[in-house]
């Protein structure tokens, strides 16, 4: 069973995304901001992280910095999903570094496809 970590401050989207993935037999955990997500990622060791960009307290950029600096999770694929960004520059950086980008609103199929792609790429990479 593949493990997915969702980092998203909006409760509805966090819960709905979790439910959609659980229905496809993924093991899902969720966090409300970047720092919390980072702590959870170290313990949970997900196969893919799906992360929002704009969050209060610590955002997607913060998570990315922490994750890339940590040897235990730096190789985990990250997919960002976002409704936009206050800074186009940060937006570009995040998209460039990430393994996938999902624009809100997204369909169930788009979500499943981008997760599947990230997992496939990861297994190719580790072989």
């Amino acid at each position: 069973m593949k493990k997915i970590l969702i980092i998203e401050d909006n409760a509805e989207i966090r819960e709905n995304t979790s439910e959609l993935l659980q229905l496809r037999q993924y093991e899902v955990r969720a966090a409300e901001n970047g720092r919390e997500g980072f702590e959870m990622a170290r313990i949970f060791q997900p196969d893919v992280v799906i992360c929002d960009m704009m969050m209060p307290d610590s955002d997607g950029y913060e998570f990315l910095k922490l994750a890339k600096a940590d040897v235990f999770i730096s190789k985990i694929p990250i997919v960002f999903f976002s409704a936009g960004s206050p800074s186009p520059d940060i937006h570009r950086i995040l998209i460039k570094v990430a393994n996938g980008f999902l624009k809100k609103p997204f369909t169930e199929e788009e979500l499943l496809q981008i997760i599947q792609e990230a997992i496939t790429r990861r297994s190719e990479f580790s072989q």
């Binding site: 909006n10 709905n16 229905l23 409704a83 206050p86 809100k104 609103p105 169930e108």
Partner: protein, 511 residues
């Protein structure tokens, strides 16, 4: 001895005399004797130089000698001193002959005197002419120019009427003074020094000077100073010829002034344009803030709607009714959320177009605030926040109830949104006979100092709020609403500590 044929000359009108090789008189005719005021018998056989003691110094004597020695023919006009001290002009021809030299002479003294008289008359006439000419020039100069003459030290020795007129000084006041008397102090010392160096070297100086008249007014003169030089080439006096150019200078100054005004106008226009550009840029910034905000604020509820719809499709079994209901509620709430955003836009649009009308009614303020708190409790309870309410004074007020409620809902939802979980929100109301004060205090993230001045701007989001959902319109609308209520809004805030908004409005809103 004299040959006999010389007697043929005796009565000739022309003077004839024969002088032998020893320079002695041999023969003179009557005319010659008369001319020379001598008698032939007195001089015959005598040396010519003995008869005329001054003769050696004349040209005639030199020519006689030349004629005797080389046999050349000579012709000359000479002025010969006579025995009685007088002198006579002669026209003379010298003819060498075998006995010596034959001299033909004509007395031309009268013609010479006439000629001299004519020359003198001519000179006098020319002098007169030149005097007249000089006086004409002087007259012309005096008429047209401002003229002054100074000695080599600069002391004024002559001024003309124009000088007196323009300077306002009388001739008596000026003579004996130097030009310091009309010095305006306008020109730098170096300029004046250069003037003096030029004329002291005997050169003409030309330039424009500003002078001061007796009454303190200024006048400009175009000036030429001509040094008059003595035989050693040193200036002994200076002639200053000036022309009044005050009008031209004033015109120039006017031109400079009007150029400066033009410059100022150009600068003003540039400033206006810059300001217009800034406004344009502000508008454009606002537009991009709006696009970014709209994108985020619309996409988030749309995401919830789309994913909940997918989930409803998964929960088709009868035992999954509860899950279905949850997602249908979620869809409804997201749609409501979208509608609220849209309403906010529309309110703003209406406010900006001045289309919002106020209707004052008398109502119970305490009740109205309690209603607002109830409306927001769902939101605050989720965050485990408490809303404390304190009310003092009369309960009835006369205001636009709907607008005031909108203001309260807006400020309350902000207090909840920008406060951490479990914090308290306090509402205080004080109703006085004529005024109503409401304060809403939170213990939230606060407003950064640099953000405070922009807080009521459209689409503005403080740095610490950009990641929190919001349109950036709420406070702009609240401020406009408070203006409609003839009231005011202000706030105090410290980042990380919390914020309090104060509302003040009249208790009785007219009309």
């Amino acid at each position: 001895m004299m040959p006999d044929h010389y007697h043929l000359f005796d009565h000739l009108r022309e003077g004839v005399q024969l002088i032998d090789n020893d320079q002695r008189f041999v023969y003179l005719n009557d005319a010659a004797a008369q001319q020379a005021k001598i008698r032939p018998s007195d001089v015959t056989g005598k040396k010519i130089t003995d008869v005329f003691p001054g003769l050696e110094r004349t040209s005639l004597y030199a020519r006689i000698r030349a004629c005797l020695s080389s046999g050349s023919m000579e012709r000359l006009t000479d002025h010969i001193p006579l025995q009685d001290g007088s002198s006579v002009w002669f026209d003379l021809r010298l003819q060498p002959v075998k006995e010596g030299v034959l001299i033909f002479s004509a007395d031309i003294t009268a013609e010479k005197e006439l000629e001299a008289l004519q020359i003198q008359a001519d000179l006098e006439r020319r002098l007169l002419e030149s005097q007249t000419e000089t006086s004409d020039y002087k007259h012309a100069l005096d008429e047209s120019c401002i003229v002054a003459i100074t000695d080599q030290k600069g002391t004024i020795t002559h001024v003309n009427a124009n000088f007196c007129r323009i300077s306002g000084y009388s001739k008596a006041e000026l003579l004996g003074q130097d030009h310091q008397i009309i010095n305006s102090g306008y020109h730098p010392a170096s300029f004046i020094r250069e003037l003096w160096v030029t004329i002291a070297h005997g050169k003409i100086w030309r330039g424009e000077l500003r002078n001061k008249a007796k009454d303190g007014s200024y006048y400009w003169v175009d000036t030429t100073i001509v040094p008059f030089l003595n035989e050693k080439g040193k200036p002994y006096q200076y002639l200053a010829i000036r022309n009044d150019i005050t009008a031209r200078k004033q015109a120039e100054e006017e031109l400079v002034k009007s150029n400066e005004q033009l410059e100022t106008k150009v600068q003003e226009r540039t400033l206006e344009l810059t300001q217009a550009l800034e406004r344009e840029k502000e508008l454009s910034d606002m537009k991009s803030r709006f696009v970014s905000m709209a994108s985020h604020e619309f996409r988030t509820p749309l995401s919830a709607i789309l994913s909940s719809t997918s989930l409803v499709e998964h929960y088709l079994q009868p035992e999954q009714t509860e899950k279905r209901t949850k997602h249908l509620d979620r869809i409804r709430s997201s749609v409501k959320n979208l509608t609220n955003i849209l309403d906010e836009f529309l309110s703003l649009e209406k406010l900006e177009q001045g289309k919002v009308e106020t209707h004052a009614t008398t109502f119970d303020l305490k009740e109205s605030i309690q209603d607002a708190i109830e409306d927001m409790e769902g939101m605050s309870k989720r965050r485990r926040q408490t809303i404390l309410f304190q009310y003092e004074g009369e309960e009835l007020i006369s205001q636009d109830k709907k607008i005031l409620k909108n203001v309260l809902l807006n400020l309350l939802s902000n207090a909840i949104k920008y406060s951490p979980d479990e914090k308290a929100i306090k509402i205080n109301v004080q109703v006085d006979p004529a005024s109503v004060r409401i304060s809403i205090r939170d213990e939230g993230i606060g407003i950064p100092k640099e953000a405070q001045q922009h807080l009521f701007e459209k689409f503005y989001r403080a740095n610490n709020a950009v990641n929190i959902q919001g349109t950036g319109l709420g406070l702009n609308i609240v401020k406009r609403y408070m203006e409609l209520l003839k009231g005011s809004i202000h706030f105090e805030s410290e980042e990380g500590q919390g914020t309090v908004f104060h509302l003040l409005m009249p208790r009785y809103r007219d009309s």
